[in-house]
Amino acid sequence: MTRLLRILAMTAAAGSLLFANGITGQTTAPAIKVARVQIMQGPELESANGDTAIITWRSNNPGGSDEHFGVVHYGSNPGELSRTAKSHIRLNPNHSYTVFRVLVDGLKPQTTYYYTVDSMQANGSSDGVKSTVNHFTTR
């Protein structure tokens, strides 16, 4: 039993040594910010209910801060996309592409909305995504 305890203690000491370098090892380096963020698929309507809709698209991995936001500029007039919705997503530095999904809230039922999309880093700086003006209609 004493031997077992001694082994446990030794292993504990080894664990402590491991821990000394552990924290830094947990954080994966953010993906390098790419020169140009291009949409590969979408944007399109994923789902729409009475007062909410989810817009989704896929782009190359923009890189930069892991904490990221998808952004939808929208409005019921295609010439005036004055409202903005943004949703949090977390970039995966190991992935070559990123799926953005944005929850748009507070919509009116049976109304057509026009929108463009972008994404941005946690500090608010835009990824400079260019998208066409699409539309959807709530139920």
Binding site: T2, G15, L18, G25, Q26, E67, A122, N123
Partner: protein, 603 residues
């Protein structure tokens, strides 16, 4: 002999007489009296909220706690004498095990609670990786009863393993996010001890709905009476307990916190300023010793099959490997539950470039923690079984845990940043401005040991034999299958209803997810992952490789004396205990009306 020593000796003799008298006094030994000595049971709950086997299960756990305390005492007695060497002073050779053993002795010491019926371990047993040990509680009331029966907290019991590895809470400007801390809402920041886990350990002993001591000095007082006091003094100094406790300390410390007799007094044990400093030091060491135990290889052991896999000493099965590839590929789980692998794009196409089932990257960490230390709002529905919602009337001590009833909403980190109702005060006013961006966010737990169950139960999953666990902060999810299915389909099967009110023909947690309790700051990394049913199962299989105890036995995992369950399906596990959420009043102003206000109103 000086006057101080004489006073201490007289106090000790007097206490011994009191304790002896108490132990000789006739007592009933019915179940009710074992768990609650004097006060009438507080039961504001509608029928069915408290599980029918609650008393017998609390007693079972208490027996298991005592058993492990016995093991810890034996461990202490087998320690070699502590020898101090060098400057700075080091307890050469055996210091590590000594402080870990002290923490272990504290963790399983039920005498720390006012009714001497609850240890830290009562809600955190090793056979479930130090999460909640009572299947029926996990299934029903979610939060565990405290020393004062049956007050209860508001959230599920978080696992100990790897909690000591979280850094001190910090706001990262580049990520515009908080990282670190302990507790679901990160309120144990570690700002003063520089150790969130030690800070965390200072919470439950004085939490009104947990151990419920009315004053941190009560823990010092009880430690001064503990059989293992000599070990504490060996490590932290012989004078640690040279404190003149007032004559009414015992009485005060047997009364649960929040009792109306205390009014607003948070230090009812009246100590001199010097003694208060000594007591605070003891309480800091209480936190640090518990942290030492939780960080030890007995608890955070890095002994899973996945660890063996990383070391090249074990092969993952085809399903486990497929699950791992999904975990870091289509499932995208490792965007937050970091697996410490290389930054090369290792997953198979389309996420990465590696051939299927082939790991081409070198490990960036040999001991990944499967968390990013951050927080997110996953959009879990309000769980109407949470015992907190029903504690709206005063108990026999005049304490009311939740005067807001169903007007309460759990905003997690957001409420903490506002120093709000049900959390702690924030130690940093510059953080307050970030509260609206953090409403609804809860800490990302390590995925390690999420699947740990007692040896005799095969898994967490029906048909079993299984151990009924609860997942996430409010225990809404009851199996790992459901957990993965939630991530996968939250936004595929959304219904604008509350739990228990899915439309006819729909099955809650299968093809109906009630609306989130808090919609603000919803994490959209998840919600529609396009995983097949089989792929969900493969991710579950992978998560089961993260259970410690594969490369060597996990300490005290053999202590479960309860019963495993059988039958049913993991998809609908626990659905028989669903209850209808009542009509919810708006979020109370004490929660949602505290500036800075939520970005959009929380219904």
């Amino acid at each position: 002999m000086n006057h101080r020593m004489l006073t201490i000796m007289i106090s000790v003799v007097a206490l011994c007489v009191v304790v002896l008298c108490m132990s000789l006094a006739p007592r009933k030994v019915s179940a009710q009296n074992v768990v609650q000595d004097n006060a009438p049971v507080y039961n504001p709950y509608p029928p069915g909220i408290l599980p029918s086997d609650l008393n017998s299960e609390l007693e079972r756990v208490l027996r298991e706690v005592d058993f492990i305390e016995g093991r810890a005492l034996a461990r202490w007695h087998s320690l070699p004498p502590l020898t101090v060497t060098n400057q700075p002073p080091i307890f050469k050779d055996s210091g590590t095990e000594a402080v870990e053993t002290l923490g272990e002795l504290m963790n399983y010491d039920k005498n720390i609670s006012p009714n001497k019926n609850q240890a830290c371990a009562s809600c955190h047993m090793p056979y479930v990786a130090f999460s909640g040990p009572i299947p029926s509680v996990n299934l029903t009331m979610i939060a565990y009863p405290g020393t004062s029966h049956f007050r209860a907290g508001k959230r599920s019991a978080q696992r100990y393993p790897y909690a000591p590895f979280f850094p001190v809470l910090q706001f990262n400007e580049e990520q515009a996010s908080f990282f670190g801390g302990n507790f679901w809402d990160s309120r144990a920041t570690g700002y003063l001890l520089r150790n969130p886990d030690a800070h965390q350990a200072q919470g439950p002993p004085v939490d009104t709905q947990e151990m419920g001591n009315p004053d941190t000095a009560c823990i010092t007082f009880k430690l001064s009476q503990a059989s293992y006091r000599p070990l504490f003094e060996d490590l932290y100094g012989k004078g640690s307990f040279d404190i003149n406790f007032p004559a009414d300390t015992e009485k005060i410390c047997a009364t649960p916190g929040g009792a109306s007799v205390f009014g607003t007094d948070t230090t009812p044990v009246k100590l001199s300023p010097e003694d208060r400093i000594r007591s605070n030091n003891v309480y800091d060491h209480w936190g640090q010793a518990l942290d030492a135990y939780e960080q030890s290889v007995q608890v955070s052991s890095f002994s899973s099959k996945f660890d063996a896999f990383l070391a090249g000493k074990a092969q993952l099965s085809p399903d486990e490997m497929a699950g791992y590839n999904l975990f870091r590929g289509k499932g995208n789980c490792n965007s937050c539950h970091l697996d410490g692998r290389s930054t090369a794009p290792t997953p198979p196409p389309p996420e990465g470039t590696a051939p299927n089932s082939q790991d081409t990257g070198a490990a960036a960490s040999t001991a990944p923690l499967f968390t990013c230390f951050g927080s997110s709002n996953l959009g879990l529905p309000l769980n109407p079984r949470d015992a907190f919602f029903y504690q709206t009337k005063p108990d026999s001590f005049g304490f009311t845990a939740n005067p807001l009833g169903f007007g309460y909403r759990d905003l997690g980190l957001g409420t903490f940043l506002r120093s709000g109702f049900g959390s702690w005060a924030s130690p940093n006013s510059t953080w307050t401005q970030f509260a609206p961006a953090n409403d609804g966010k809860m800490q990302t737990s390590s995925a390690r040991n999420v699947a740990m169950v007692p040896e005799k139960c095969a898994s967490t999953e029906a048909p079993g034999p299984y151990f009924q666990k609860e997942f996430f902060h409010n225990g809404y999810i009851k199996s790992l299958k459901q957990l993965v299915h939630f991530y996968n389909t939250r936004d595929v099967f959304p219904f604008d209803v509350t739990s228990g009110n899915c439309p006819a023909g729909k099955t809650e947690k299968v093809d109906c997810w009630p609306r989130p309790e808090v919609r603000n700051n919803l994490d959209m990394t998840i919600g529609k992952l396009d995983l097949t049913d089989h792929e969900e199962d493969q991710i579950v299989a992978f998560m089961q490789t993260l259970t410690d105890g594969f490369t060597r036995p996990y300490a005290n995992r053999d202590t479960f004396t309860g019963v495993c369950k059988t039958g049913g399906s993991a998809k609908t596990q626990g659905n028989e205990s669903l209850i209808k959420t009542p009509h919810l009043p708006p979020c109370a102003s004490a929660v949602c009306g505290v500036p800075p206000l939520p970005t959009t109103p929380i219904p």
